[in-house]
């Protein structure tokens, strides 16, 4: 009989935010992502350095400590290409600490798009290029190959599972959303419908969000959450089941939940308590799919993500500003790629980051709080205008090659 295992998966990412890029910058300045003279949330270097202090450094230190202390402790990470680029430039010690984590052999890296994009839904060829670019980056830095895939914002549907299966992935991650699971539990390994070898891990969103979203919420009935209570919940959830998939943003630790909420101590203490029970352990994502047989098939015809109360793509594609800018940026694909200009291609791909479209979200109600917290812009309309101005500048640069992108 296998032990129960927590599958802890943390996603680390920082976009290149667009600065206040006006209509008068277009054709003159190509430095969309260089808000370095700005102090108000567009300064990517400043933001990266700040979050490195608040989250990446202390959390990696804690993870190292836990790995040293508990032989059964394991985690999985996804590190986007644009995130890795930024820590290479502005926090090389953080990159080194990630390398040390991976070297333990108990930290697995998860495959995804380099640019944190939604390319899968707009251009399959472009999507594959970005996945390959990310594989290469991970190979270069960590010297490893990845076996499990996650798409941006945990977006998932049957087509994606089929694609990942065809491309040899052993596993894929998705949200454990109730309308999909119905009476079933997310605490098992599943098989995506119409696939051969790949397995599906579904996020236990209740237990994940207890940490990621509710931990410091004083209006939550369970606040303040103790490691004992949480350990009871997870043990209860795991009873007679295989796994508990705790998937969340890496930045939950120290950035979304600040140090003074007690998040680090809570987590350290919880890991100790969980492993105190000899029936309990941790699995990385690929271990989990290799250890357990699937208990059933899961079909997701429509795309499911891990965002907002709808768990769909509406946070990125729900309004016409988002759909317009997505259409325009992907329309440029042929001209940009044909230009062969590596800087231009890189800037164009950075503009595909889902974050830009998230900032244009106008669902300012229940989810709005989260959106407002994550947006550096004073309004989604500003985010849209800066984006359009930068997109036009990409077109302007294309004129030098093929007179592409007419407008």
């Amino acid at each position: 009989m296998n032990k129960h295992g927590i599958v802890l998966y943390l996603h680390a990412h920082q976009p290149y935010r667009i600065r206040k890029y006006s209509a008068f910058d277009t054709t003159y300045n190509h430095d969309y992502f260089d808000g370095s003279d700005d102090d108000s949330g567009f300064n990517n270097e400043q933001i990266l350095r700040k979050i490195a202090d608040k989250s990446y450094r202390p959390m990696n230190a804690l993870l190292e400590k836990l790995l040293n202390k508990y032989p059964d402790f394991k985690i999985s990470l996804s590190l986007t290409g644009v995130f890795l680029e930024q820590i290479e430039k502005w926090a090389p010690d953080v990159l080194e600490s990630f390398k040390r984590l991976v070297k333990t052999g108990r930290v697995e890296i998860v495959s995804e798009t380099y640019y944190h994009s939604l390319a899968f839904f707009y251009n399959r060829e472009e999507f594959e290029q970005q996945v390959e670019a990310h594989r290469q980056k991970i190979r270069d830095i960590f010297g490893i190959e990845m076996e499990v895939f996650r798409n941006t914002e945990l977006s998932y549907n049957n087509d994606l599972a089929k694609w990942a299966d065809d491309h040899g992935y052993k596993g894929i991650l998705a949200e454990g959303w109730d309308p999909i699971l119905d009476w079933r539990s997310p605490n098992y390994v599943y098989k995506p419908v119409n696939t051969n070898n790949i397995r599906l891990l579904m996020k236990n969103y209740r237990l994940s969000d207890d940490i990621a979203f509710r931990f410091s919420d004083r209006s939550w009935s369970s606040w303040p959450l103790s490691a004992d209570t949480y350990n009871d919940w997870v043990n209860m959830s795991a009873t007679d089941k295989s796994i508990v998939n705790l998937f969340m943003d890496y930045e939950t630790f120290g950035e979304h939940q600040w140090k003074d909420t007690g998040i680090f101590d809570f987590y350290e203490s919880f890991v100790g308590k969980w492993l105190n029970n000899p029936a309990n352990t941790f699995f990385t994502v690929s271990e989990a799919v290799k250890t357990f047989e699937p208990v059933g098939e899961i079909s997701m015809q429509n795309t499911v993500t891990w965002a907002d109360t709808e768990r769909d793509l509406t946070a990125w594609t729900g309004n016409s500003m988002q759909r317009e800018s997505l259409r325009y940026i992907y329309d440029l694909e042929k001209d940009v790629v044909n230009s062969g200009d590596v800087n231009l291609i890189s800037d164009w791909r950075k503009l595909q980051a889902s974050d830009h479209f998230y900032y244009m979200c106008t669902k300012w109600f229940k989810d709005g709080d989260v959106h407002a917290y994550f947006s550096p812009y004073s309004s989604p309309y500003d985010a849209f205008l800066y984006y359009m101005n930068a997109m036009r500048d990409i077109r302007w640069r294309l004129r030098g090659y093929n007179n592409g992108g007419s407008k």
Binding site: A23, T26, N319, S320, M321, T362, F384, M388, K407
Partner: protein, 389 residues
């Protein structure tokens, strides 16, 4: 700005002017009249903090209850202004009192009561225009109504404004004289040379055969921009090589950005935000067509500025400036199909565009402040005769 050129032209025709402004600032370039500062306020504060020309910010209190010492409140400034004028008219003995719009109407009425000099009320915009609806601020409406009733003569900046004064305030037409605003082309001949740099993206598209359609305005309901965007979508559906430059800012901005996206034409529209100086001049210069889409525009000076820069003009019948120009396209602000048709026909026909551009270039030059001043001097004299007989 209108008052600056108007007073200059009046002085040139022999008028002796005492001009009371609601702020304090040196005007070293003005030597044709005496300027009186009714308050110690900085002139910029009327645009920023108080928004004095924006009647939405007016409390619906009574003037008698306003505190003349509270200059943070527009009613306080008005009271201060009234007190200043009351004192001033006792020393200068005016032949005629000329009050502009609701902000100075109360002072005008007080001055008439004290001096028995005739009151001329000059209407640049009514509260109906400013609010873009039949509502607006009731206190402002009341002040306007009182001022219009008590005036010996009323100057309206257009036939449209005259009609509003007759129809909405019930003032008989023979009390109202239309004196259109003008433009001083000299004010725009300041050595400005268009270098094609500011809107390089648009210039490149122009070189590719695109037509640039612009409007430079405040983004408020009064300006009818949602109709213009609907028309833009219809025009683009017929003829793709169109770009729209929407220069300005205002509380309707987000709505317009969203509407353009809903219509699927964001790609054809550039929002610049508020512009001034070279960016403002160049916005005219980069344009082929200038649209004034106002739902209610007493005059619309920007149309004359656009004409000066060689734009073909499309102006709503609800804009006063359309009364003084012939070589323009006109439409009713709600008529999206017609505006779309007009834009497309100009964009498709270089001959038509050129004839409109050249025609309006001749016409705008004919409209002068001197002619306006001549009309006003005649009107002053008629009021004086009325009193004496």
């Amino acid at each position: 700005m209108a008052c600056y050129y108007m007073s200059k032209a009046l002085a040139a025709q022999g008028a002796s002017i005492d001009f009371v402004v609601p702020y304090s600032a040196p005007h070293p370039d003005i030597n044709w009249m005496r300027i009186h500062n009714a308050t110690g306020l900085d002139p910029l504060s009327k645009y920023s903090g108080l928004g004095a020309y924006d009647s939405k910010n007016v409390a619906t209190g009574e003037l008698s209850k306003a505190d003349a010492k509270n200059l943070k409140d527009i009613r306080g400034i008005q009271k201060c202004y009234v007190k200043y004028v009351e004192k001033l008219v006792k020393t200068i003995n005016p032949d005629v009192i000329h009050a502009h719009d609701w902000l100075t109407m109360e002072a005008g009425m007080r001055a008439k009561t004290i001096t028995h000099a005739p009151l001329v009320v000059h209407v640049h915009a009514t509260e109906f225009d400013r609010s873009g609806s039949d509502h607006g601020n009731s206190l402002v409406h009341e002040i306007e109504y009182q001022g219009l009733m008590m005036a010996d003569k009323i100057i309206a900046v257009s036939g449209i404004t005259k009609n509003i004064i007759m129809n909405k305030y019930g003032i008989p037409g023979d009390k109202i004289e239309v004196v259109h605003n003008a433009i001083d082309p000299e004010s725009l001949n300041d050595g400005y040379v268009y270098d094609g740099r500011t809107y390089r993206y648009l210039e490149a598209l122009r070189a590719d055969g695109y037509t640039i359609v612009s409007t430079i305005t405040r983004f408020t309901i009064q300006k009818g921009l949602t109709f213009m965007l609907q028309a833009a979508a219809k025009a683009i559906a017929q003829y793709d090589k169109l770009m729209f430059l929407l220069a300005g800012d205002g509380d309707q901005r987000d709505e317009l950005i969203e509407l353009a996206a809903d219509l699927g034409i964001s790609d054809h529209i550039i929002f610049t935000g508020f512009i001034r100086g070279k960016q403002w001049r160049d916005a005219y210069s980069v344009s082929d067509i200038f649209v004034m889409s106002s739902v209610s525009e007493p005059f619309g000076l920007t149309a004359l500025e656009a004409a000066h820069h060689g734009n073909a003009l499309i102006i709503t019948n609800q804009s006063g400036v359309s009364e003084v120009l012939d070589s323009i396209y006109k439409y009713d602000f709600w008529d999206e199909n017609k505006l779309a048709e007009q834009i497309v026909s100009i964009a498709k026909s270089p001959e038509l565009k050129e004839s409109l551009q050249k025609g309006v270039m001749r016409e705008y030059n004919r409209i002068s402040w001197n002619d306006a001043a001549t009309k006003m001097m005649k009107l002053y004299n008629s009021t004086r005769k009325g009193i004496e007989s």
